[in-house]
């Protein structure tokens, strides 16, 4: 682990990692209240010269849907949403996400808002990127209390999508669908494998040599700050100001 001084923010690094996971797809959609995934999607588009299509569901400008609230789901059912983001009040080592309750379902100790579209999109979007900045044993648990959407399904269950990665404030896990387990891909600068283990409630695979999450390139930082930040400011003005404006 290096202690090299950072000339970029954690948010910029996470967005860069996610943009790499999006890669050269046709269409990526981002739900509400997701400024870092939105940054990543717009960064992928800036790199791709207009591709992928980006749907920021909270935006009027970066949202081309005209068939009402069902269009995102229909579009995904058609195989036309290539990447999406999910989070969870709890996420476990099999990629299950919980957006509903902790404790007894009928009289829970914690009630989250609800499953939103997860119980559908997780099955039909090829690259679902799990994103949860708080990396703790509270959020990353051995087994979720309620499965809003399962990470893996039996072979006979129609499923064209599922998790590809879990990005936290400490590390980048890749998801191995065959093994039905997370695999530690890299640890972010300033964090350690031991710290990741201590704060993760589930088992995961660790490579013999644990890479450090690469820093964004100068070109990437320029694109984010000059091209993406102004676009982002429409929906996340506070975030855009805090992260991208020079102090």
């Amino acid at each position: 682990m290096t202690d090299a001084p950072l000339d970029f923010s954690t948010e910029e690094m996470l967005a860069d990692v996610i943009a790499g996971l999006i890669g050269d797809l046709r269409h990526v959609a981002v739900g509400a209240a997701s400024p870092i995934p939105a940054t990543a999607a717009l960064l992928a588009r800036a790199r791709g010269g207009g591709r992928p299509y980006v749907s920021l569901l909270q935006s009027r400008k970066h949202n081309f849907f005209t068939d009402g609230g069902r269009e995102l789901f229909d579009c995904a059912g058609q195989g036309r949403v290539d990447a999406f983001f999910l989070s969870g009040g709890q996420i476990d080592g099999q990629g299950n996400v919980n957006l509903v309750t902790i404790g007894d379902y009928e009289k829970p100790t914690v009630r989250f808002p609800g499953s939103f579209g997860s119980a559908y999109l997780y099955y039909v979007v090829p690259r679902v990127i799990l994103f949860r900045t708080e990396h703790s044993r509270r959020t990353l648990v051995p087994r979720v209390d309620f499965i809003s959407a399962p990470g893996v399904s039996d072979d006979n269950v129609f499923r064209t999508g599922g998790p590809v990665a879990l990005i936290t404030n400490r590390c980048h896990f890749a998801f191995d669908r065959a093994a039905k387990r997370f695999h530690l891909q890299s640890v972010h600068p300033g964090h350690t494998l031991e710290e990741v283990r201590d704060n993760t409630g589930f088992d995961f695979d660790v490579p013999t040599q644990v890479p450090e999450t690469p820093a964004p390139s100068g070109e990437t930082l320029r694109l984010m700050r000059e091209t993406v930040a102004p676009e982002l400011a429409e929906i996340y003005p506070e975030f855009a100001k805090r992260v991208f404006e020079p102090v």
Binding site: A33, K107, R111, P113, P150, F158
Partner: protein, 271 residues
């Protein structure tokens, strides 16, 4: 009875115990109407959100108007959890039929199309499905060993939403918020509040007609300028963030919620 009515008259079909469907928080929630319903003291609503809700559901739940709720999520978004919803669920007082967004869209489309059910992918292996005895898993008759969920048609008694404008014939301009049309098609009757009345027919101009719900589906319309406040009316006004933050703060406790009702619901706000 004329189609354009006072707000109170327009809301008369929303009787105690009825199934009421409302749109998500970003597409035109009829908040002025919601406050009027709370003032009237409507009870035992079977509330359905298409597919989510924020302040509207939380207010109705907190004010004791809701007996049962079908939703994909209730949340104040950037202002945090919906406090009255959360409290009602944790105390075991509110029965929630947890759903997922496309299931609510599809179940209403089933009623729109007059079919008893709609199939939906996903859901298999989810606890959302496990807690829905009304949803059924069958083996897809067109394949081998392909389990698929059937959602029974959801036919609300009343659909209620807020829209930019309507004309005297009851035609309502909904624009690209097409789930509002589906709600109206699916529900037995539809009540709409609008920012303003449109002179002439919305159907005469092909460009306006493309975003118009025909009056055939509409029972009553009431004028309610800024009727979605403090929520957004798309392309017209944004959320009133300061007010929502104030709501989140007050509604964190039952006492604070009562204060909120006194201040913003039972006393009509000075617009």
């Amino acid at each position: 009875m004329p189609i354009i009515r006072s707000l109170e008259d327009a809301l008369a079909p929303i009787i105690d115990g009825c199934m009421l469907v409302v749109p998500r928080e970003s597409t035109g929630a009829a908040m002025e109407a919601t406050r009027a319903l709370i003032r009237r003291g409507v009870r035992d609503l079977n509330l359905v959100t298409l597919p989510t809700s924020s302040l509207q559901a939380d207010l109705l739940i907190g004010a004791g108007c809701v007996a049962a709720l079908e939703t994909s999520a209730i949340s104040l978004g950037e202002f945090g959890l919906a406090p009255r919803f959360t409290d009602a669920v944790r105390s075991g007082k509110l029965h929630v039929r947890d759903a997922t967004c496309p299931a609510l869209h599809a179940a209403l489309q089933a009623s729109e199309k007059g079919v008893p059910f709609m199939p939906l992918r996903g859901l298999i292996g989810s606890d959302v499905l496990a807690h829905r005895p009304d949803w059924m898993v069958i083996d897809n008759p067109l394949a081998n060993s392909d389990p698929i969920v059937l959602l029974p048609a959801l036919k609300p008694d009343v659909a209620l939403f807020h829209a930019p404008m309507a004309d005297a014939a009851g035609n309502v301009w909904v624009g690209r918020q097409r789930e509002l049309a589906t709600m109206a098609h699916a529900a037995r009757t539809t009540i709409v509040t609008v920012e303003k009345l449109h002179e002439g027919s919305l159907l005469n101009d092909p460009v306006m007609a493309a975003g118009t719900l025909p009056g055939l589906y509409v029972e009553a319309i009431a004028l309610a300028p800024r009727g979605a406040w403090p929520l957004t009316l798309p392309d017209h006004y944004p959320n009133d963030g300061a007010h929502l933050a104030e709501y989140a703060r007050l509604a964190a406790t039952a006492e604070g919620f009562a204060t909120y009702l006194d201040r913003f619901v039972h006393d009509r706000r000075a617009a």
